[in-house]
Symmetry: C2
Subunit: 459 residues, 2 copies
């Protein structure tokens, strides 16, 4: 809102090249607000605005910009200006930027960093993609066990300004291994002459630098903390991860899972900003694969062509029956994939899930069978629509529905377990994939039931 009110005024200052007053006006603004103003500006003005800011403020504003704006600004600014901003960026935000860029651009930017910052950046980029190391900052405060509260506060006044978080302070031993922590909030309510050792707590947990970022989401949820320490394989403290980065990771993971559930590759970019060609490619792969699988329905139908010729009435219910299997499978697979993602269900629970889906499948199938029976048997023109054997047709449809819905529920629930057991991502078990598998089986179930009931009558 501030942005909308001030933007014309700022534009005016840019047009008049009154950079002194521009800098003055912006000095009192929160970085996030400047970022918002900048986002709405024209490309040329963006670079001007960022150039005017003090380097520390420029870096903070930069951290709040979208990846697209960051990239285009890096291209628009001169090397010297880029260097200023990059050197000031928080190490975790810098990693997030560098890991998105193509390798040559990353290399070029790394050259612009001061040697000590470059060492940090290269180190963080060395951790595996999606690992905790990539979201970490090495800027944390460590303190000595022997200090008093007053000494710690004195230490903070000296070194605290450059740290990314002060919420937790850490005590490490000679080898750099994490031994204890103290919370800032405990520190500031304690008397000044209290020895720190009385306030120390065991670190409730530490993340491993190679842990998957999903582990970090869980840990933050479980322990309700705003910052967690990160250790290497020797237990040495190498950095900290803050909750704001984890909130972003949690949202991104949920987005990816939801897109996979819809039956495609995860887009890895906002819907409106991803290139149309790239989006189509991400969707075409799975769509084509599902199509190839679905071709088996044509094969199955070909196998039953004789039956259809004899009793065309059977074909009327094909879409109804196979889609009911697909729908129940979609329910089951979304439930289980999400339950696995939030750790409500683990691999060992497979038989409990199987049991629940067996019961649910029969119950849900019976509900649909009941509706179908009423619909067919109570319809005034039933004999005209479905022929003289409408009663047997109704029984065929009802029994097939129970079978297909039961199969769909079990298939949808078990596929994520099978995929995970084979070390695939269970989220690959998308609703469309389950529907495709169930379609083929659904046809076989339907025509087998029909054959059993209608043999000698219609078939």
């Amino acid at each position: 809102m501030i942005g909308n009110l001030l933007q014309p005024e700022l534009k005016e200052l840019i047009r008049e090249r009154d950079f002194g007053r521009l800098r003055e006006t912006l000095e009192d603004f929160a970085p996030v607000d400047i970022a918002e103003i900048l986002t709405d500006m024209e490309a040329a003005d963006k670079a001007v605005l960022l150039r005017v800011l003090h380097k520390r403020q420029a870096a903070e504003v930069f951290e709040y910009l979208s990846m697209e704006d960051q990239e285009s600004l890096l291209r628009a600014l001169g090397s010297e200006e880029v260097a200023k901003i990059l050197n000031e960026l928080a190490p975790d935000d810098r990693t997030a930027l560098l890991e998105e860029l193509p390798a040559p651009a990353t290399q070029k930017l790394l050259q612009l960093l001061r040697p000590e910052e470059r060492k940090v950046a290269v180190g963080l980029l060395g951790y595996p993609k999606d690992s905790v190391g990539r979201r970490m900052t090495p800027r944390y405060v460590s303190i000595q066990q022997g200090w008093t509260v007053a000494q710690v506060l004195e230490h903070l006044r000296r070194v605290g300004r450059d740290q990314d978080t002060l919420n937790q302070l850490y005590v490490v031993d000679d080898r750099g291994c994490l031994v204890a922590r103290v919370r800032l909030r405990v520190l500031v309510v304690a008397e000044l002459n209290t020895p720190v050792v009385e306030l120390l707590e065991q670190p409730v947990t530490a993340l491993n630098v190679t842990d998957d970022q999903e582990t970090a989401i869980e840990a933050f949820q479980k322990y309700d903390l705003t910052v967690l320490p990160v250790v290497d394989s020797h237990g040495c403290l190498v950095g900290v991860v803050t909750v704001d980065d984890i909130l972003d990771v949690a949202e991104r993971e949920a987005t990816e899972d939801m897109q996979r559930l819809g039956g495609m590759e995860a887009l890895d970019a906002p819907y409106l900003s991803i290139g149309l060609g790239r989006m189509i490619r991400k969707r075409a792969g799975w769509l084509a694969l599902l199509f190839l699988g679905e071709m088996l329905t044509a094969t199955a139908m070909g196998y039953f062509e004789g039956e259809i010729e004899k009793a065309v009435v059977l074909s009327l219910f094909i879409p109804l029956i196979i889609s009911s299997g697909g729908n129940s499978g979609s329910q089951a697979t979304s439930l289980i994939i999400r339950a696995m993602a939030v750790k409500d269900v683990s691999l060992a629970d497979w038989w409990r899930v199987l049991w629940r889906e067996l019961v649910a499948g029969v119950a849900l199938g019976s509900v649909l069978a009941g509706i179908a029976l009423i619909r067919i048997l109570a319809w005034p023109t039933r004999a005209k629509l479905y022929g003289e054997h409408y009663f047997l047709i109704a029984i065929t449809v009802a029994l097939s529905l129970v079978g297909v819905v039961l199969f769909g529920s079990i298939m949808g629930a078990m596929l994520p377990f099978i995929l995970r057991r084979l070390s695939f991502d269970p989220a690959v078990s998308s609703a469309p994939l389950v529907a495709t598998l169930v379609d083929v089986t659904g046809l076989v179930i339907y025509f087998s039931v029909a054959y059993g009931i209608l043999r000698g009558v219609l078939l």
Copy 2:
């Protein structure tokens, strides 16, 4: 891990009724670890363990327990013990518990609270479900503009211990309206004689107490803060919301969206702990509704029964064609629902989305059409399988695929916009719902194309 090692020892102490040593052993434990140990214990031991703890520690442990454990413990403990814990609970965690219980139980528990705590609890429960007020705590620190840093720190040492967060301190005017904030981390790195007024910042944003909790998720993501102030309609500060509660909300919202996308009501409970009957009811409603919709396919098929009788070969491709429409619709609707949830796409973007899906639909449909053409025309036994007019059949299938996939993409993408425009939750546009809508239309498209191409030949 600590839990597994110690559990036998603790059990032993409980069996021996050595409560003194038990309390001593547990004193140094983090509440979250005690909660974990307690979760794995037998029901009777749980109450004993909690009873032994100091009331402050008991309340903290209680906050980390699952809703189920909390409820069963409330039943197992005496009124006096329940009162002790309830009075010590953080107001936001207490709301989370009370809002889950049936109304009579909530009333009974409210009576156990001290008058001042009861006033707080009733006030928080008075805010609408899913509003920011329900996740808020009224325990924050407000300070005076005229103070120095030393005075603020002195104030914190006096009142800070009972607050739920100290990360942000707030300055309010005579009417209680929020005027400024200061971050604890800025405060502790400043010299002691600095006037606070020099460190004040504008509150970047404030949540409204009646805002939806989704608004809070967005705000925390945008501003990267760990705590945000909450104001009433007059701008008066009424409490604060902390990021740990919001991380939980974000996960729960994503779960609900994913379950709706799978075609059912959100479960509102973990998969393995929800009653089987309740889960079946939550799934049966949508499944039955979709089934009623899908019955239209039988009606449509009945309408084309004559065509099928003349050319049974047409029926072979029905599952293939309608499922392709469903799959492309599932992709589009998952993309758009998620993009809306994370605010990548707003209502005003509908025409940009429509345009993208038009292009994507034609492209994706053409890919599938190409595969189908190859499959039919290059198959060695094509004439035997599909009859002498296999070429026309192939053209019919290919054209129908383009039409159906295009329709599926547009339908899947536009339905969330329509639902939101009508003030429904766009997440209701589930993959199965889109598939159902597309199935009926897909049949009409297929038989219309067939009629156009095969009239006079087969039909």
